[in-house]
């Protein structure tokens, strides 16, 4: 049975990774599961400089979901390399480093810095965080800016580039095409959906940031649709994500066209989710007589 998949030059031993921002820098989860069983470890978004993040409250539990506005708190490139890279570089599975900036130049500079770091698996370009005013989302909702960010990073690195697309666009196909044409090796679909919750007793928003990004099982059907639409528009591989908490969810994304999947919010309530999915995916393949996981990719049958 073959579970290995490729995202450009990135070879994943199996198709199950974790979503950026839901798994810290990997080390936090290492007491609870064997990270080397994952297809890849994807770390929280990193920009050039340290970022303090948003004031609390930063998350709110909603029906079948989680609303967050963490604000991409992080140690910056240097802090990441110093504190977390010594741990990550020892893993046998690849690390996908999620990067972001507030300008095209900053994205490229962060990409250049990681290009010189030995052992990085791939870079994931975060152009879709809804919680940062100056960066992120604007690059994900303007296809010309998106092209410039991807092209600028492409020029400075030979690492596989994965562009994480925003769901907050009228149609995802042109964005998928723009990223592919600018040199992206793969796509991550999707990020959180802009959302809001209010405490009716206090009349206050439940997040200090007022609005945030919605994740968890409640977004899954919307994310599956985005993957399906993007997969019909481009040939580059897609990492599907959005509310995955079971192998059935993962297989749904793969049938919609995802080559790999990422477990996100579920890591917060069940750290074993990714490994449980992997075990159940093997059982599904056995039951269906599937010998290569790639047979599932895009296997949905529609009449159009």
């Amino acid at each position: 049975m073959n579970l290995a998949v490729n995202i450009g030059q990135l070879r994943m031993p199996n198709p199950v990774t974790v979503a950026s921002g839901t798994f810290g820098y990997g080390i936090e989860y290492s007491p609870l599961l064997d990270l080397n069983q994952l297809g890849a470890v994807t770390v929280k978004g990193i920009r050039l400089h340290p970022v303090r993040g948003n004031p609390p409250p930063r998350t709110a539990e909603v029906t079948s979901g989680l609303l967050n506005a963490i604000g991409l708190q992080g140690p910056g490139v240097d802090g990441f390399i110093q504190k977390y890279w010594p741990f990550l570089r020892e893993l046998r599975v690849p690390t996908i480093i999620n990067i972001w900036g507030t300008t095209v130049e900053e994205y490229a500079e962060v990409a250049r810095r990681f290009d010189t770091l030995e052992g990085v698996g791939a870079l994931e370009l975060n152009v879709s965080c809804p919680n940062i005013k100056e960066g992120g989302a604007q690059f994900g909702t303007d296809s010309r800016l998106l092209s410039r960010v991807v092209a600028a990073c492409r020029r400075v690195t030979t690492l596989p580039l994965i562009t994480k697309l925003s769901p907050n666009v009228p149609s995802i196909a042109p964005f998928a095409q723009a990223a592919a044409e600018a040199g992206s090796d793969g796509l991550s679909i999707t990020n959180s959906f802009p959302a809001m919750a209010i405490d009716i007793e206090t009349r206050r928003p439940r997040l200090a940031n007022v609005t945030g990004g919605l994740t968890g099982p409640c977004i899954k059907p919307m994310a599956v649709k985005l993957v399906w639409e993007a997969a019909r528009a481009v040939k580059i591989p897609i990492i599907g994500m959005g509310g995955i908490q079971s192998a059935a969810d993962a297989i749904e994304f793969m049938m919609a066209g995802a080559t790999a999947v990422a477990v996100g919010t579920a890591n917060f309530y069940e750290p074993q989710t990714a490994l449980q999915i992997l075990a159940a995916l093997r059982q599904f393949m056995e039951r269906k007589g599937i010998v290569d996981v790639k047979e599932i990719v895009g296997a949905v049958q529609t009449d159009h």
């Binding site: 539990e61 140690p75 507030t102 500079e109």
Partner: protein, 310 residues
């Protein structure tokens, strides 16, 4: 820290809205330090995804217990669980209290309501008994008095409605005690767990009287293991401040580290578009920021998110 599916040994009403849950957790129980917490997945909650954090109350052989108040859908569902059923827990989590090592310390424990739960192991493992001050809105909120008394501790009670002990806030009997000099050769050390306003008041008293104080902080929590960065609070760092995670940098903090209010937030630093500033060398020291993270409904005094809507 371990993730284990554990069997419920007992789940009984302790008083009014308060329940005590005992689970058999042979891997976890011996590891528990005073002030640590357990992150509990409540299986019957389907649409409420997150685990609920609870302070660990007592440890007995291969079991540990939690004391919780039914305030929302999570704790209500937990209260309906029966012995023999199982729960998935991640525990023990967080940095707890510093247990006094010698007889010189005279520990003063300050609890708001079921904050008592987080302080029990500290009392049990302290070399010499001290005084525990417990406050609540009314008589029904005063818990664990007999348990602390059985350890030889003096218990002083305050209720806001005067239905039990002194009428007023728990800080009143605390102040009365520390205005007296400590017995010869001994010094006061404060440890507190309860609602944030109570912790803030204890922190101010500690500063005023120049006493060491450790406070168990209560915030919204999500992952409980330091990854999500939900549960951050502002903490002094170098000449500035940084967000630290209650779940892994705490929940217990030294009172003098805490800021209580968030300083005016500087905007996210924006890199000049061109040219980029010179980059520090790869081996330069980091920003000085600590490893940060996030969290939620820890109980022991905690009760929180997702619990309002039931």
């Amino acid at each position: 820290m371990l993730e284990q599916t554990v069997e419920i040994v007992a789940n009984v009403r302790a008083a009014d809205l308060y329940f005590q849950l005992v689970v058999r957790a042979p891997g976890i129980a011996p590891l528990v330090q005073p002030g640590q917490f357990a992150h509990v997945r409540i299986p019957s909650l389907k649409a409420a995804l997150l685990r609920r954090p609870f302070s660990i109350y007592q440890v007995n052989g291969d079991t540990f217990s939690l004391l919780y108040k039914t305030v929302g859908q999570g704790t209500a569902a937990l209260a309906r669980m029966l012995p023999g059923e199982v729960l998935n827990v991640i525990a023990p989590l967080g940095r707890g209290f510093t247990v006094p090592r010698d007889d010189a310390a005279l520990p003063l424990l300050i609890a708001g309501g079921y904050g008592m739960a987080a302080l029990y192991l500290l009392a049990q493992r302290s070399p010499r008994p001290g005084i525990v001050f417990v406050g609540g809105r009314r008589r029904a909120d005063i818990l664990c008095v007999a348990e602390f008394a059985a350890l030889g501790w003096e218990v002083r009670i305050a209720t806001e409605d005067g239905s039990h002990g002194e009428k007023g806030l728990v800080t009143q009997p605390l102040l009365a005690a520390i205005r007296q000099p400590a017995p010869p050769g001994r010094h006061f050390r404060l440890f507190a767990c309860g609602p944030t306003p109570m912790l803030h008041a204890v922190g101010q008293i500690a500063q005023e009287f120049n006493l060491p104080a450790e406070l168990s902080m209560d915030t919204h929590m999500c992952c409980g293991i330091g990854a999500c960065l939900t549960c951050v609070i502002p903490v002094k760092s170098g000449d500035g401040w940084a967000y630290q995670r209650v779940c892994t940098d705490g929940p217990v903090f030294n009172a003098q580290e805490l800021l209580w209010t968030i300083p005016p937030a500087p905007p996210v630093p924006v890199a000049p578009s061109n040219p980029l500033p010179p980059l520090p060398a790869l081996d330069s020291p980091g920003s000085g920021e600590k490893r940060l993270t996030a969290d939620r409904e820890r109980q022991g005094s905690r009760d929180i998110q997702g619990e309002v809507s039931s």
